[in-house]
Structures are given as C-alpha cells and as structure tokens.
Subunit: 219 residues, 2 copies
DNA sequence: CTAAAAATTTAGACTAGTCTAAATTTGAGA
DNA sequence: TCTCAAATTTAGACTAGTCTAAATTTTTAG
C-alpha cells in the first residue's frame, strides 16, 4: 500500500504528463502540489526506489507501468466519489473536489467496486472527465474546445477544463452545464470572444477565457 | 483540525471511559490501539497541551468537554458510514468496520450532514450501537445483556457487544440479527448456557460467551 | 510496613515528510 | 563556446508519530 502523499505525487505526475507529453519537471510538480522543489526531489527518489517512476537526476520523471496504474486508480476513485457526492448526496459540482481529494485515498477495493455498482457504472464525473476503468483504461473522448468550434453547428458540452469554484459558478449562473446544447452564432476576431445560443434558451457572449475552458462535441 | 492519530486516541479514550468509568490508564489505551505505552504517554502530553484531555502523570486521563465532543463526533461519523456501507452499498455487517475506521476521519461537516439526510437520520448502526446526534448527545438505550434475561419473556435483539467477524458470522449462521425476537426457554447453571427459541424459528443452545455479547430489550 | 511486581514515564533513536539555504547542473543567449 | 540565470539537488534541520531500553512511581502482598 502507498501513502496519501505518494498517491498524490503519482496522481500529479500522471496529470502533468498528460498535458506535457515528455518527462515532468521537479518545479512543475512542486507548483502543482504547492510544495517546495527540494521536497519533490526527496519524494522522487523514494518513488524511484519503489519502481513507480523513472527518475534521472536533473532530467525529470515519468511514471512506470506500475506507477501509472496506481495513479489512474486514484483518479478513478476521485471521480467515482465525485459522482456519488453530486448524484447521491446532492452536492453542487463546485463543492465536491476537496472532499473527493480526501475520499480518493480510502483503501478498499470492495468499497470502490460496490460504489461503482451502486452508481450504475458511470463513465464521466460531474465535470465531464472520463472515469478510468478498473483495468486502468481511460475512455477516450474526441471533444474539441468550444473556442475551436465553427458557427451554425449544434454542439453539446462534454467537459469543463477549469474546475475552479468561480468558473463552475459562472457556468451555473449562465445555465451552462454538461450536456447543454448550443450553437456558435458569431465569432469576434478582435478579442476571440463569441456569441453563443443555448438550444431553446438564451444567447450570451463568452470571452476567450470561457470558450477555451469548455469542451464540446458536434451533435 | 486534528490528526488521524489524535482522533483515534480520543475515540479510544472515550470508549474505555464508558466501560471503566474513572480515569483511563496508559496501558489500557496502548492495548486498545495496539501500540506501546511509551507512545501513549507521548500522545497524552500532546492532547493535554491542546486541552483535549485531563492528564496527570501516572494517574491516567479523562476527556475534557472539548475532547469528548471530538471523540463523539468521530463515533458519529464511524456509525453513519457503517449504515451507508450496509444499507446503501450492501456490505454485510461483518465487513464494514475497517473501512469505517478510514472513513470516520474524512473532514467535511457538509458531507456528514448530507450523508445523514440521505440515510434518513438513522438512530442505530448495523450493530445496534446508537448514533450520536450532531450536538454530541448519545441516545440512551436501556438494553440488558441476554445472559441477564429470564425465561418465558419475549426479547428483541437490540445490539451486539462483540463486533468481531467471527462472532457476527456465528450470529448470521444461526439467523440472529438486530431486531430478532426470541424467548429464553431454559437456563443452565452448570455452564451458564441457555436454550433460546427464535419467534417463528428454530431453537438453539447459546453459550455464556454468546449471551454476554448480545443486548436485548423486553418486548 | 516493606519489598517485589506492575505500571508508567523518560531518554534516545528512527522514519516519513517537509522546509531553508547552499551547492551544483543545465541550457539559453551573446 | 562562454557566461549566467534558472532549475535542481544536497545538506542540515524540524515535526509527528512511533519504538526499545532504562529509570521512576505506584500498587500489591506478605
Ligand atoms: Mn476533482
Ligand atoms: Mn472532476
Ligand atoms: Mn465499527
Ligand atoms: Mn458498529
């Protein structure tokens, strides 16, 4: 079994490797975990000793097969718990992250299997992120950023990139949720903003910051 | 906020104070927590510094108001999670303790409030133990031990004292559960065993070890 | 009342995880 | 290719929690 701290490092390395492709740097990890680079170096050595990461001094790290499996399993638990919190306990989607950060470290395979069954095998979490399978496979989703959409097509919101309270509350305010359907009416080169119309709802001007944090699928 | 470890010490002191009335000794705590007396002494000093226990060298400890409140809250969380595991996730009553030991340390008042609501404000856990109220009040239950019952009365099983897997599985095997109704047909002085008949069910001879680990209420 | 046993505390050490400050390595730009 | 700033690691320290072994206090029994 691995400690809370080890699991958090593995999860963060997994996350950063996803967006940065090659080796993940010490400073990136330190920044993501709100800790110091020296602490990260210490932990990377421990994880390397346990064969969870490939670590070469000054060259950053990548996850081994073993490390990857543990990281993905923590992500699976995090997202399943988020579904439970929103669907079953009626939390709002902007309230669940911190509690899920704790729940993801509970050690019990049986618990997570039964939770999965109770929730009826969900495939995405409340923010649209895919829930990894038990075997570590992560369902692929060919979404695009709303900012890359073109006018006069119908899109469905599939996922939000920024999970911050303020962004999620902004979306709530404007009635944009996962599965909302919308059309891009107009795109403005000047500031990369766009006018969007929710199907059967209101129109709204979205800044580039918003449209680059929302993923959509063509209907 | 208090650490995992601090919460466990407070919970154990609370439990032991309940059955031992006066001050709780270092060795009792060490035994209950499967740790060493010297470790207990160290922690008692820390808890005393934080005004969570009244500690006098060589004389054992008792909880302060503040310590008591924290301990009872951990017990509340433990028991609510046990209800969730059994009622919602369909765990058997002999499988839930270890997972609840982990879940009881999750920090979120909102989580426990919503769990309580979802479970419809249960008053007892799967083993019949009372679930403390939010304010720290513990519902009193005037049960007696089955071993103290008399013949030819109808009793209802209210709680089990021993929560070990082997005892709970023994009870399962003989179809004795919380709320089972039964009559004591005969009591044998020789070994303090008794013959018990389940209402509408079979008769069975119970050893003293069994009857002193089952609480009942007169119907 | 007193000696031995039992309980408890103290002393000193160890691990995990973290930090600051100093040293080292890397790599970008002149 | 050289220099220097940025990135990274090392050195040394600190906290929480634990342990063993030794010292001290309390309790028990004769
Ligand atoms: Mn989250
Ligand atoms: Mn999420
Ligand atoms: Mn329990
Ligand atoms: Mn219980």
């Amino acid at each position: 079994m691995f400690s809370h701290s080890e699991e958090n490092y593995l999860k963060v390395i997994h996350k950063l490797a996803f967006s940065n492709s090659k080796n993940v740097s010490t400073n990136l990890i330190a920044n993501e975990l709100q800790t110091k680079a020296s602490s990260v170096t210490d932990m990377l050595k421990k994880l390397a000793d346990k064969k969870l990461v490939n670590y070469e001094k000054y060259r950053g790290v990548s996850l081994t097969k073993k490390g990857e499996l543990i990281a993905v399993n923590v992500v699976r638990k995090h997202r399943l718990w988020e579904v439970f919190l929103v669907d079953t306990l009626k939390f709002n989607w902007d309230e669940v992250h911190d509690v899920a950060e704790q729940l993801e470290h509970i050690k019990s395979d049986q618990l997570i299997d039964r939770l999965d069954t109770f929730l009826n095998y969900p495939t995405i979490d409340p923010h649209g992120d895919p829930i990894p399978k038990k075997n570590g496979e992560i369902p692929f989703n060919n979404s695009i950023l709303l900012s890359e959409g073109i006018t006069n097509k119908i899109y469905k919101v599939s996922c939000v990139k920024d999970n911050s309270k303020s962004f999620l509350q902004f979306l709530d305010k404007h009635e944009i949720t996962i599965n909302s359907e919308l059309t891009i009416v107009d795109k403005f080169d000047f500031d990369d903003s766009m006018t969007v119309k929710l199907i059967g709802g209101h129109s709204i001007i979205l800044s580039n910051k918003v449209s680059t944090n929302v993923f959509v699928n063509l209907k």
